[in-house]
């Protein structure tokens, strides 16, 4: 059976880390299984871990008044979920819910935070990788925000646009 260390070593997210750092990280990890519907994290809770999804799929979602629960993004095999543990104030901003049975390695962020403080090389290496995760999330969010498939403004009501001037008086 492969150890968590093997797993971390092979994962592209942790590529190029020194074996020492991999060992440290692996030391903070444990295997977990979530059934469909189980939460890996809840909005507002302390973010004390992050997850490497080994198999399955999780949804990052948020509860809204208008639309109920809205899935912001899904994350699956081989991907990372959770960046809140490394950025203050270390609280989850979204819910993370297993959409199907999901095997993940949970990494203890609280423990890693301490190690990063002591070993800035490790801290830098991880922060660099997580800023990548953040950047991807931002890009995806921006694209979603553009609503590129939506009906363009003015398309539906061709001439009603004139009404815009209404009330400018």
């Amino acid at each position: 059976m492969r150890t968590i260390e093997d797993l971390i070593k092979e994962h592209r997210f942790f590529k190029d880390l020194s074996s020492e750092h991999i060992e440290t990280i692996a030391g903070c990890g444990k295997n977990m299984v979530f059934k469909s519907g189980e939460y890996l994290a809840r909005e507002g809770n302390p973010a004390d871990q992050f997850y490497v999804i080994r198999q399955g799929k999780v949804a990052i979602d948020i509860v809204t008044v208008e639309k109920g629960t809205v899935i912001v993004q899904t994350v699956q095999d081989g991907e990372i979920v959770g960046w809140s543990w490394i950025i203050e104030p270390y609280y989850w901003r979204f819910d993370v819910r297993a959409v199907e049975t999901t095997h993940a390695v949970a990494l203890d962020g609280k423990c890693l935070r301490g190690k990063c403080e002591k070993d800035h090389d490790l801290g830098y290496a991880l922060l660099k990788r997580f800023s990548g995760v953040l950047a991807r999330r931002l890009e995806v969010a921006r694209l979603q925000f553009l609503d590129v498939y939506g009906v363009q403004q003015g398309q539906a009501a061709v001439q009603k646009t004139k009404g815009k001037r209404h009330g400018t008086k």
Partner: protein, 270 residues
Amino acid sequence: MVIKKKQKSLPHKKYKPKLAVFKFASCDGCQLSLLDCEDELLAVTGEIEIAHFLEASRRVLDGPYDLSLVEGSITTPHDAKRIRDVRKISRTLVTIGACATAGGIQALRNFKDVKEFVSLVYARPQYISTLATSTPIVEHVPVDFELRGCPINKSQLVETISAFLQGRKPQTPTSSVCMECKRRGTVCVMVAQQMACMGPVTQDGCGAICPAYNRGCYGCFGPKETTNTESLAKWFLEMGMKKEEVMRTFRGFNGYAPEFRQESERQEMG
């Protein structure tokens, strides 16, 4: 038990959309365009029920109306209220003519003091109820489509009604008068005769008649899309016109349309 009502076999009657025509401050010319469609009038009434058109009929059918044509601008407190009532009973509201779409010639008051106007024109100003401004309908209620012109063009009116009946967008160009002028084969009066012409900043639709009758366009269809009034005004000045004249050129039948208004104000100030 269900009793089946014996159905009378009525001849199939198709639903005719109801047309209404409303007038606010205006000259009646635009609604007259409808009566001027001598060749189409009976066909129009075959397709559409004229339900409210006081210029043509004393028969008034109750609303709501499928298509309301609104002529004229809002110049009195009473009319400002009335147009909201008209909107309420109109499924589609189309404004027709420069008064309804830009305030009309009577919007020239907007640049002056209306109180002075009242005392100047009327022997008994106390009977006169008026607003300080003459404003287009769209400043009061949402409008579905604006048909430009002082007056509107008959074929554009037929096209608009036709488009309404077919459920499509009216094919009324928003480009310059120059395009139609050139298609018509008229020699440009501005280039060849140094006449001031508003054609390059005015919306087509009239058929470019003025240059064909050897005079410059006076902008009765209002600003075209993407106007560059500043450049045209500059050229007018280079042609030897006085600022005052340029100001007046823009301050005509569509003088209160934003693009023309801004230019006349620019000329007035500077």
